[in-house]
Symmetry: C2
Subunit: 226 residues, 2 copies
């Protein structure tokens, strides 16, 4: 089985939590890859021809063949490089697999969907309402971590798995949000398991190798604010 | 490997395209199951305790263990009953697997998301705009069918696969929409592959066995209209 290298090219943007998922998957599988920074105001021909449907990042090119959409990329990396150095991201057991996918869908549809609206809300009231819904989703996810980890340190149990990677994409933004607004999404007083997970995940060398600098994200977010 | 029977119980509602996905997956895998009709205005304790996060159908109970969310259920059925009578729904090849997941996400996020808004739009202008976006997504999906089928009859190639099941959940509503408004979503003049797929899929005995009656859906939709 290939170990990546020149045959793996990732089209992305450095601040995107979705691109970070792909980078985390590659990093935790121990695969080297070429990172190509896209300018979304002036997309490359390679991006446009690789993802003609969405014209969006991330796109992983494996031996020239494009794989699009962050969740699809994470699963593809796990399956295509099943013999790679890192442990499997997805559980082999069908029921555990289903449980992992359930919580990934929850993170997408409930937690991140609400949190994104905090950033785009037009009034302070709307912002507060979406933050309330975000924190309610975080509360529920605390139970998900308990269910998935079975006493281990990660959603994947003893090692980082699919759910860890998907939530991991948001980790730098969890820290940036605290700097920007003081809001602590994973508050140890309310969600002790997730608060411990946040520290533990961020301290792993595979995560550190690809996560963007929080202060740079903060500056980026300030520039984008209306 | 088990063949379903009393150990497989599906909590659902007869008119839901999402529940139908689960029924189609079970049917195409040749598995027998107990179908339990839920009253969503008065949810059963079994539903509430089986899916405490979303309190929604479908839920598949396999030997008492709940699997929630339609896409998760379809994949679970495929993996847990890999030795069942029907062919595998998901391709074994990681790249083909990724392509199938890509088009499933497209059906969810673009086609069905726009189409659902046709039903909930408040003005005729909004309705027309969402129908335009729905048809634009159908146009793109025509290319997806070409890519996935590789000259075969279905998204899964020579047999029904994951994408067929997910789109198949909407088939009765495609017909009901035509009766209700005259709108032909899969028009042979515009999307000949999808139009042929619609007829071919609906004619399969495994699909017929679980699909609701179109006229009953039409009456149901008329009753729900404001």
């Amino acid at each position: 089985m290939a170990r990546g290298g020149a045959e793996l090219k990732l089209l992305g943007t450095w601040a995107s939590p979705f691109v970070l998922r792909a980078q985390l998957a590659l990093s935790f599988k121990g695969l080297s890859f070429e990172n190509v920074e896209e300018d979304l105001r002036n997309k490359s021909d390679l991006l446009l021809t690789s993802n003609p449907v969405h014209k969006a990042v991330p796109v992983l090119l494996h031996g020239g063949r494009p794989v699009c959409e962050s969740l699809v990329i994470v699963q593809y990396v796990d399956e295509a490089f099943s013999g790679a150095a890192g442990p499997p991201l997805l559980p082999a057991d069908p029921y555990e697999h289903a449980v992992a996918r359930f919580w990934v869908a929850f993170i997408e549809d409930k937690l991140l969907a609400a949190w994104q609206k905090v950033f785009t809300a037009k009034t302070d009231e709307e912002k507060a309402e979406w933050m309330k819904q975000t924190l309610a989703a975080v509360d529920v996810l605390e139970g998900g971590l308990k269910e998935c980890s079975k006493g281990g340190s990660f959603f994947g149990g003893d090692h980082v798995g699919y759910v860890d990677i998907v939530l991991g994409g948001a980790v730098p933004w969890v820290h940036a949000t605290e700097v920007l607004s003081g809001a602590r999404l994973f508050d140890a007083g309310k969600v002790p398991l997730l608060a411990a997970w946040l520290e533990r995940f961020g301290a792993l060398k595979e995560a550190k190798a690809v996560m963007p600098d929080v202060q740079r994200l903060v500056e980026h977010a300030k520039m984008k604010q209306p």
